[in-house]
Structure formats: C-alpha cells, structure tokens
C-alpha cells in the first residue's frame, strides 16, 4: 500500500491500483496523512525539474542519418 501511495502521487499506477488507492484514500484519514508525508518527500525531486529543449530539427537530422545508412526495406 505504501509503494502504491508513491505511485499515486507520481501517476505511476495502473488503472486497477489507482482505483483501489483512490477509494482507500476517500475513507482512511491515516492513509491521507501518509500521503502528505510522501508528498513532502518528493520535494527534492520537484526542485530539479527543468525544461530540456531538444536541438533544432533533431528528428529531421536523425531521419537523414538513418536514410543514408540503412536500406529502407522491411525487416522480416
């Protein structure tokens, strides 16, 4: 349950687990309290979120490299 609390905060759960923990949180004050503790524990990670921009035309340049280096044939 504890690991699923983290997963709940991180959006890392599958639908079934998500529904289970959401339901439990509605009626369990102790679980709600633990959720707040976990939310606080994520602070160090929140602090190092940074937007990373890909270089201009990276996909296009990659496409060019691949087209120049491979025979474009089915791989079967």
């Amino acid at each position: 349950m504890v690991d699923n609390l983290l997963g709940y905060l991180l959006g890392a759960l599958e639908t079934e687990d998500l529904e289970q923990i959401s339901l439990a949180l509605e009626s369990d004050p102790e679980l709600q309290r633990q959720l707040e503790v976990f939310r606080q524990a994520l602070e160090p990670l929140e602090l190092c979120r940074e937007a990373i921009t890909s270089p201009p035309d990276l996909a296009v340049r990659t496409w060019v490299v691949i087209r120049q280096n491979v025979a474009w044939a089915p791989q079967q």
Partner: protein, 215 residues
C-alpha cells in the same frame, strides 16, 4: 526497397491518421512505411532527448545517442512482438545505448550518495520513519537556487540503479510497470527502488542540513 532521398527540414510531413506507437512501428516493419518511422521520431524527439540529457548530462552525447537509439529501433523492428508496448521498449533501447556511450567515453558513474556523504545503512528505513517527526520542510530554509542545485546534485549522486528508476518514473512519467519492462526488473523492485531513492534523498538532505547547522 531502396532508401529514397532524405526529406529536408522544411518538407512538411504528410498527415497520418492518429495511430498508436505500436501501430506505427508495425506499419514500418511490415510495410516499410518510412512515414510511420518519421512520425515515431517526431513523437519521441523531445521526450527521449530529455531523458538522454538527464542520463548522460551531456547534450552533444545525448544527440549522438538519440540517433543511435533510432538506428537500433530500425534494426530491431523485426524483433518487436505484437502486443508489446513500444514506450518501455524504446526506453530499454535508450538506456542500453546510454550505458554503452558512457562506457565508451569512460564516464560510467561510480559515485553515489553513500560515497559522497558517508556510508549510511538505509535498509529498513521508510519514508514515514524518516519524515514523520520533522516539522516543516527543511528545504524551505535555503534560497531557491541553492535548493535546486543541491537537489540536482543529490539525484546525480544516487546509485545508478536507483537513479534509473527516478529518471524513468519521475522525470519521464513512465508507469511503474513500464519502467520495470524498460529496465528488465520486477515491478516490485521498481516500487521499492523508488521508495529507497526518496529515503536516500531525504536522508542526505537531513545530513547536509545538520552539518550546515553545526558550523
């Protein structure tokens, strides 16, 4: 089918009906449809580059590895099993390519929070144990840029096996199950490593904070 002349950056991509990643890869593999491959490249351009930048901490190397990843996608497309999810599959390829690149560059990481901040036995410690008795957030006591710098370094200093999970789940937004598949480890291991990573980050903060208080 021979390789046609490559499209230029200014050429517009034809509209493709919204297809899943898996459908695109299978369309490429089964029909040699290059537009399907191009669509995959564009879908993952920013996301995968961000992952590689965080993993490698080197934008130039990240760009090289990004290209190598898609070369591997081309080479391994025939091995892609129907019913499998594309996202964890490409992250698995990306992770292996990044590890290879670091190895070749002689930059495989060896430091960890343990070696940087002193060996600390964390087994059995839970986040609840660690955090329940603290009042307020100690991180709030530093300037924002100091907190961000500390946090980035602390994540970088995590042991690789914990950092892998943090990068995939927290920064890339993979589900636990997807991260498990990408890393080739059990689901329960991903969950426990995520938990362990947070224990270490928060414990490291406490040690750093206590040390600075003592001065």
């Amino acid at each position: 089918m021979d390789a046609a002349a490559p499209r230029t950056a200014t050429e517009a991509r034809p509209e493709l009906p919204k297809s899943s990643d898996e459908e695109l890869l299978l369309r490429y593999r089964n029909n040699a449809d290059p537009e399907a491959f191009r669509e995959l490249l564009h879908r993952y351009e920013r996301e995968l580059f961000s992952y590689l930048c965080r993993y490698l901490r080197d934008e130039t190397l990240a760009e090289e590895v990004f290209q190598a990843v898609f070369m591997r996608v081309h080479e391994k497309a025939r091995l892609f099993e129907e019913g499998r999810a594309f996202r964890p599959w490409i992250y698995s390829i990306a992770t292996h390519q990044a590890i290879d690149a670091l190895r070749k560059a002689g930059r495989r990481r060896t430091t960890s929070l343990d070696t940087v901040h002193g060996e600390v036995e964390m087994d059995g410690t839970t986040l609840l144990d660690l955090l329940e008795d603290r009042t307020g957030s100690p991180l709030a006591q530093l300037e924002e840029h100091e907190r961000s710098a500390w946090a980035r370094q602390a994540v970088d200093d995590l042991p690789q096996y914990l950092r892998d999970v943090v990068l995939l789940v927290y920064f890339q937004g993979l589900k636990f199950r997807e991260a498990a598949e990408a890393l080739g480890i059990p689901l329960g291991t991903v969950k426990s490593r995520m938990h362990q990573a947070l224990v270490r980050l928060n414990a490291a903060w406490r040690r750093t904070h206590s040390a600075s208080d003592d001065r």
